[in-house]
């Protein structure tokens, strides 16, 4: 069985490729429409509002659903015709509760390891190792029914990780967690993607939350692709200068626009896109010429949210 386990995940093969992928359900609802995307190994954020088609995409990747049209490849395999091979290499953590209550985490994760094809002894060993990696130690011998939400989320993650997959699919892994729990889960995912060398697809409707840990982002809305890119390429040419003057921002706005700069007004702050070194001088000169008192001139990295749908951007920006 050829596996890329020995290789670091940054090999050139894309982990996920879709070509005009469309999924229409029997009731006529189109969950995904003409989605073409190619995802490199690493931590990938899949963002979109609820109902955008994230869960449908995950089920298509696992071969649980058959595409209406288009093609899909996971780790170079076709999940429709090679579902068993794909599923042996992929770990899946659902969004909803999915754990039995009257069994210990150690026993359950061992069982799930065996269902994934690990021999009994290996399954037991990897189950306790995986539970340790997600932060469950002695608790793992207690019944899952008595666990907190945070601990349950960790068990859900452990069962997805127990068979050492090449790709993890995590559906809203921070759901139901308090801020500290979210933080812990995110750094755990980050560790899995970096230290463990496993590619991770993280679904979330909270862009701001996952953008910090992702190497690349895929944004979908209404089943269509909004944008897909690596985070570095998204933020590379998007340096912004925030310019704030005491008053007269409208005059400044007009003046800057007249000089050919891209300016966006956001409350009292003007966001100017920096295209070349001279932009700084230009802004300084314009402010001086207009005799305005410059309150603030600072560089601001484009928030990823600004690159996506206006609705998402508006929400994010309003919190700035």
């Amino acid at each position: 069985m050829p596996r890329g386990a020995g290789l670091p995940y940054r090999h050139p093969v894309p982990v996920i490729t879709t070509q005009s992928l469309t999924k229409r359900y029997a009731n006529g609802v189109t969950a995904l429409k003409d989605l073409t995307v190619e995802v490199e190994p690493g931590i990938i954020g899949l963002v979109g509002a609820n109902g955008a088609g994230k869960s449908t995409l995950i089920k298509l990747l696992l071969g649980l659903l058959t595409p209406t049209s288009g093609a899909i490849r996971v780790l170079g395999l076709d999940p429709v015709t090679q579902s068993a091979e794909v599923r042996a290499r992929v770990g899946y953590m659902p969004e909803h509760d999915c754990l039995p209550s009257d069994i210990s985490a150690a026993e359950f994760v061992t069982h799930m390891g065996r269902i994934s094809g690990l021999p009994a002894a290996a399954a037991r060993e990897r189950a306790s190792e995986t539970l340790r990696h997600v932060g469950l130690y002695e608790e793992r011998y207690r019944q899952i029914g008595g666990y907190s939400t945070g601990m349950k989320q960790r068990v859900k993650l452990a069962q997805a990780l127990v068979h050492d997959p090449q790709l993890l699919l995590l559906d809203e892994p921070t759901n139901g967690l308090d801020p500290a729990g979210r933080q812990a889960m995110l750094s755990l995912i980050h560790r899995i993607g970096t230290e463990f060398g496993i590619s991770v697809l993280v679904c979330s409707h909270l862009l701001g939350e996952i953008e910090r840990i992702c190497d690349s982002l895929v944004a979908i809305d209404g089943g269509r692709l909004l944008r897909s890119a690596s985070l570095s390429s998204m933020t590379q040419h998007t340096d912004l200068l925030a310019v704030e003057v005491d008053e007269g921002e409208q005059t400044l706005f007009d003046a800057l626009t007249a000089r050919g700069l891209q300016v966006k007004q956001e409350d009292r702050v003007l966001l100017v896109r920096v295209t070349q070194e001279e932009t700084y001088d230009l802004i300084r000169d314009v402010v001086a010429d207009l005799d305005l008192s410059l309150h603030r001139l600072e560089q601001r990295r484009y928030r990823v949210a600004d690159l996506f749908a206006p609705s998402t951007a508006a929400q994010e920006v309003s919190r700035v």
Partner: protein
């Protein structure tokens, strides 16, 4: 100094995440693993003490009579045969099915564990068949154990030397075969019915209802039936009458349903009906898991 210090300091190193390089077994192994896991959970093994109480109590209802019959027989009294034994334990069997079938399938539905199975190499059909096989084996295990006790008790007190022992062994093996046939029908029906509900109480109720409702309906129809032929057809409606009909025909039991053992088409009809019912239930079970949401 290296030898000395390394011998003295036993340090646990966190060697970080280890990739798994060992073998990955396929679909058949996954099916076997689920089967074993389900069979164990039928008796509460690997679970809390609480989960063991009910199956163990029920187990006593199988072992107890077996011991009793063994003692009675050793006193020279006439008791049930190996063939008749499963029918004598109809009530504990039905209760066992009603409690264990939901444990095997309804729980996974309610806890929504199915997506974890279906996102693994195990197929939906494998899941359904592993669960059906586990329920069948669980009941068979109890019946075989009880029959084995009766056999061991008999074999040491049997008369007629080696021939006697061989005869007894033949009867015992026939009894096992009969138990397997008798178990197949109600097991496949029970697991199908339990798989319809994620609520264990409801699922248990439906399983009991199946046997409780069909029996009087069948009896009523048998009584109301004008002709003998209609009477025999009415017997088909009750899975338990049906299976005893199969036993009577296959093993030539004198005590019940003589019309089945005579040269009438009914014995064959009953057996065919039992076969179709079993296979049909399993097919529906597989279809049910095709449809169930992941």
């Amino acid at each position: 100094m290296s030898d000395l210090t390394s011998a003295r300091t036993g340090v646990i190193h966190d060697i970080g995440y280890q990739r798994y390089q060992g073998p990955r077994l396929g679909r058949d192994y996954a099916l076997r693993s689920l089967y074993t896991y389900s069979l164990r959970s039928a008796f509460g093994l690997g679970r809390s003490f609480k989960s063991k109480i009910v199956p163990m109590t029920l187990g006593a209802f199988f072992i107890g009579p077996a011991l009793l019959f063994t003692v009675l027989r050793s006193q020279g009294l006439e008791t049930v045969t190996y063939i008749e034994f499963p029918a004598a334990l109809t009530i504990p069997s039905v209760i066992f099915l009603a409690l264990v079938a939901p444990e095997l399938v309804s729980r996974d539905l309610r806890d929504r564990t199915l997506p974890l199975y279906f996102s693994r190499p195990l197929s939906r059909t494998c899941y359904a068949l592993a669960k059906a096989a586990a329920l069948f084996s669980a009941l068979m295990l109890l019946l075989s154990l009880a029959l084995l006790i009766m056999y061991l008790g008999a074999v040491f007190s049997v008369e007629g030397g080696l021939t006697g022992v061989l005869d007894e062994t033949g009867d015992f093996l026939q009894g096992l075969l009969n138990a397997a046939i008798l178990t197949a029908v109600p097991t496949s029906l029970s697991i199908l019915i339990a798989s319809l509900s994620g609520r264990r109480v409801l699922a248990s109720g439906m399983v009991v209802a199946l046997f409780m409702i069909t029996a009087p309906v069948s009896t009523l129809l048998q009584e109301a039936a004008g002709s003998e032929d209609l009477q025999r057809l009415a017997g088909l409606l009750d899975p338990l009458t049906l299976t005893s009909g199969v036993t009577a025909w296959l093993f030539d039991v004198e005590n019940y349903a003589t019309y089945l053992t005579e040269t009438s088409p009914y014995g064959l009809l009953y057996t065919l009906a039992a076969f179709i019912l079993t296979v049909g239930s399993l097919l529906l079970l597989v279809l049910r898991y095709r449809k169930v949401a992941s």
